[in-house]
């Protein structure tokens, strides 16, 4: 885990690119962790886990020990990830049915899950399954189970929406996925930790903590202990 004691401002550069963000999340996953990577951007974290990290990937459709995406002759319609894309199997893998897979999740056995988000609140509430648009077809999949069950929920998202409004908010306005479940938020502009005490800026990229604070509607703390 990142053991920062002082907020680090990376000012001599721009915001994190998508690959850089995935690499940052990968860096913060402890070796040997059991991890579920949500569909979409979180899936790309797998490409940045260092060899020998011992991280074991769980996929909600019934597998531990999932390997990288399958290509060419490796593709097997009976072996897919939660996004229904073909994947591979690593040595030490195991298969189980859906009730067992979600028992594993709900029972608190996964160390980390990484999810995308529409909004995260200052208390760690997560909104990531429904935009609330009246004509949208609701579809939750395993998002609520992951948000509720994993020991730690990391969120990956841009910090601001396309219209410039922050996605780290005092109260989520989109329908909730889970209450007080997010512990870390990885964005293009900063990394935040959330606990009962509130939101802390741990790192910034291409901006200062003070500038960020002025653009957010919630209070954020910085770390100022010397290492």
């Amino acid at each position: 885990m990142n053991s920062a004691v002082k907020t680090v401002e990376h000012l001599g550069r721009g915001p994190l690119g998508r690959d850089e963000l995935a690499a940052l999340v990968a860096r913060d996953i402890p070796p040997g962790s059991f991890v579920n990577l949500g569909i979409g951007q979180p899936t790309t974290v797998a490409d940045h886990l260092p060899a020998g990290s011992g991280v074991v990937l769980h996929t909600e459709n019934g597998m531990l020990g999932m390997g990288p995406a399958a290509h060419g002759d490796e593709i097997d319609p009976d072996l897919t990830n939660a996004g229904k894309m073909p994947v591979t199997e690593l040595p030490g893998a195991s298969y189980f049915h859906h009730a067992d897979s979600f028992a594993m999740m709900r029972g608190g056995h996964l160390d980390v899950c990484v999810l995308g988000a529409f909004q995260v609140s200052g208390r760690g509430d997560l909104a990531n399954w429904h935009t609330g648009a009246p004509d949208a077809i609701p579809a939750v999949g395993g998002a609520m189970d992951l948000a509720t069950g994993a020991k730690q929920v990391f969120v990956m998202m841009t910090l601001f929406a396309k219209d410039g409004t922050p996605k780290l908010v005092p109260e989520c306005t989109y329908p909730l996925t889970g209450l007080a479940c997010v512990s870390r938020v990885y964005t293009d502009l900063a990394v935040f930790h959330i606990d009962r005490g509130g939101v802390t800026v741990v790192e910034t990229y291409g901006t200062s903590a003070a500038e960020l604070a002025s653009r957010l509607e919630i209070a954020v703390r910085t770390l100022d202990r010397e290492p």
Binding site: D78, H97, A99, F102, D125, I137, G142
Partner: protein, 225 residues
């Protein structure tokens, strides 16, 4: 005792209008396409279908939906890039939808199969999917009360079965099959091939024969055109 069929029509005979049908699969992996096709030909209508998704493309569950046989879908994730059949029915008000978190969907079917009357589940607390549900705080954590989902019929796909009805699956195509098999009055499984009793490793059987009423042997079908 389990009956082995080579004709898909025989395997789905007797499914009544208005039945609740649990259909296995996560996307196309583990989807019992031949049984669903046979159900379309069989003609049962007004069905409630419980399945993780609401059909992909134009085959399998999507074809059953397109045929207008489904009154209500209970699923976790209807909206997908290739769920145009369901999307159209839903937007035109021709189908009812109950969205259930994926793990709760699985656990509610397990409860039906395991004789559990109801269970307190932490998933979904404080979200729109918990609205109207009874809640209880246990050990400082909030839970919602969830009830079993029991089927009249289950259609699943397994990899192989023996003549007694024991089933094994393959990789992530296992998904909902073993849970659904326990949760209905009539369980029908399609398998790629049937082996003689005694050929499956008793330590590796995933669905014991007690849960399986009918097997459709896809290999036999191919062998006798």
């Amino acid at each position: 005792m389990t009956a082995v069929f080579s004709d898909p029509g025989d395997a789905v005979a007797g499914i009544a209008d208005g039945s609740t049908v649990l259909i296995g699969g996560f996307g196309m992996a583990g989807m019992p396409v031949q049984l669903i096709d046979a159900l379309i030909r069989q003609g049962a209508t007004g069905l409630t279908v419980v399945s993780n998704n609401a059909g992909n493309g134009d085959t399998g569950l999507a074809a059953l939906l397109a045929a207008g046989r489904v009154r209500k879908m209970i699923c976790s994730f209807p909206r997908q890039s290739d769920s145009w059949v369901f999307d159209g029915l839903y937007r035109s008000g021709k189908i009812e939808l109950e969205v259930v978190p994926q793990g709760t969907l699985a656990e509610r079917m397990r409860a039906a199969g395991a004789g559990i009357g109801a269970f307190y589940c932490p998933t979904g607390v404080g979200t729109p999917l918990a609205e109207g549900k009874e809640t209880r705080t246990i050990d400082g954590r909030d839970h919602v009360l969830e009830y079993p989902i029991k089927g009249d019929v289950v259609l699943i796909a397994a990899h192989a079965g023996d003549r007694m009805g024991n089933l094994v699956y393959r990789k992530t195509a296992r998904n909902f099959g073993p849970v659904m098999a326990t949760a209905a009055a009539l369980t029908i499984a399609q398998v790629h091939h049937v082996v003689e009793t005694g050929e499956l490793d008793p330590e590796a059987v995933v669905t014991p024969c007690i849960y399986v009423d009918r097997i459709l042997d896809l290999n036999a079908k191919e062998a006798t055109p």
